[in-house]
Symmetry: C2
Subunit: 192 residues, 2 copies
């Protein structure tokens, strides 16, 4: 699908993102970049995820040369409040209780940069996600599994429990997993 003579790097430590990129049949390497993932006062979610993807790119591009680099950042927003990764199990329980029976929005910003041509694309995707009402026992069982701990919003839509917490989505599914595949694929086609 994407055939590139230029090496492709995914600058993300997320195993979900690596899996999604593999699904596209793209051959790539990955490394992680450290950024402080904080939301600025009054910053719109779209500006936030694009800024964080760009900040990650600015760090990532120091690590490799003559390559195509991909960075991304995902946040979960409920009632204009950004929900990050849970701090601990109690926090995960609180987050999932908040999401129960309601609609939240997942934003992913991403950046693709071709170091050879010096061309880049920065874009975002947004998906609405509706949870069914979930009960305390289900939440505790899920948190006990450990899976929510490294995920924004304390759930993975591709998980065992995550899959049956979500009633419906409106938008790109893969964006909720961590990478908006269709938009990313189009960006890669333009830059390879």
């Amino acid at each position: 699908m994407i055939k590139s003579d230029t090496l492709i790097y995914l600058a993300s430590r997320s195993p979900r993102r690596r899996k999604l990129l593999k699904q596209l049949g793209i051959i790539f390497r990955s490394f992680s970049v450290n950024t402080i993932e904080e939301v600025l006062d009054g910053e719109h979610p779209v500006d936030c995820v694009k800024r964080l993807a760009l900040e990650k790119m600015n760090r990532a591009k120091k690590n490799v040369r003559n390559s195509i680099i991909i960075t991304a950042d995902t946040i979960v927003v409920l009632d204009k409040e950004v929900i990050g990764k849970p701090k601990n199990r109690k926090d995960a329980i609180n987050i999932l209780s908040l999401l129960s029976g309601r609609v939240h929005t997942v934003y992913t910003g991403f950046c693709v940069f071709n170091q050879k041509t010096n061309k880049s694309i920065i874009d975002f995707e947004k998906t609405k996600v509706e949870f069914r009402t979930i009960n305390k026992d289900e939440i505790i069982d899920y948190v006990e599994s450990g899976s929510p701990m490294d995920k924004a919003g304390a759930y993975g839509i591709q998980d065992d429990f995550g899959a049956v917490f979500v009633k419906r989505i409106d938008g790109c599914y893969y964006n909720v997993v961590g990478l908006p595949l269709t938009k990313l694929y189009n960006a890669l086609r333009k830059l390879t």
Copy 2:
């Protein structure tokens, strides 16, 4: 999640359905049932998928005893026209060309029947799927991969190409893969 003393059977030959049910951590066995999957004149898609799920159940329940059985049927509808599995590669190319740049609807009907209690649930799920404009080369590459051939609508949203053909969905993602997990999970909780 679902802990049942009663054996669970999935009466479907679809590897996607088996994978989805495994994702829920459900222990089950599977076998296939043969039904003529045809749409009756003037039949609404909802009636059609529920009827076909029930017809499959009527056959399936003769094969096992004292068990919980799951059957399902998925169809793709574009402009009130039901699109089945492609007959051959040329048909797959035609179907994908039709879906390009447009919105279609995926319906799955499912039936869960507990032979011990004689209780059953029959329900359906519907999801709107929007394709981006896809070009002839992409369609041919995808059809060459062989993947579209056993799938209603000639695509799998979970495939390499399928994933990047879909721009957005409105509804349950897993319904498009072949089983509406959240609704099915709720049905199983009620019947186990």
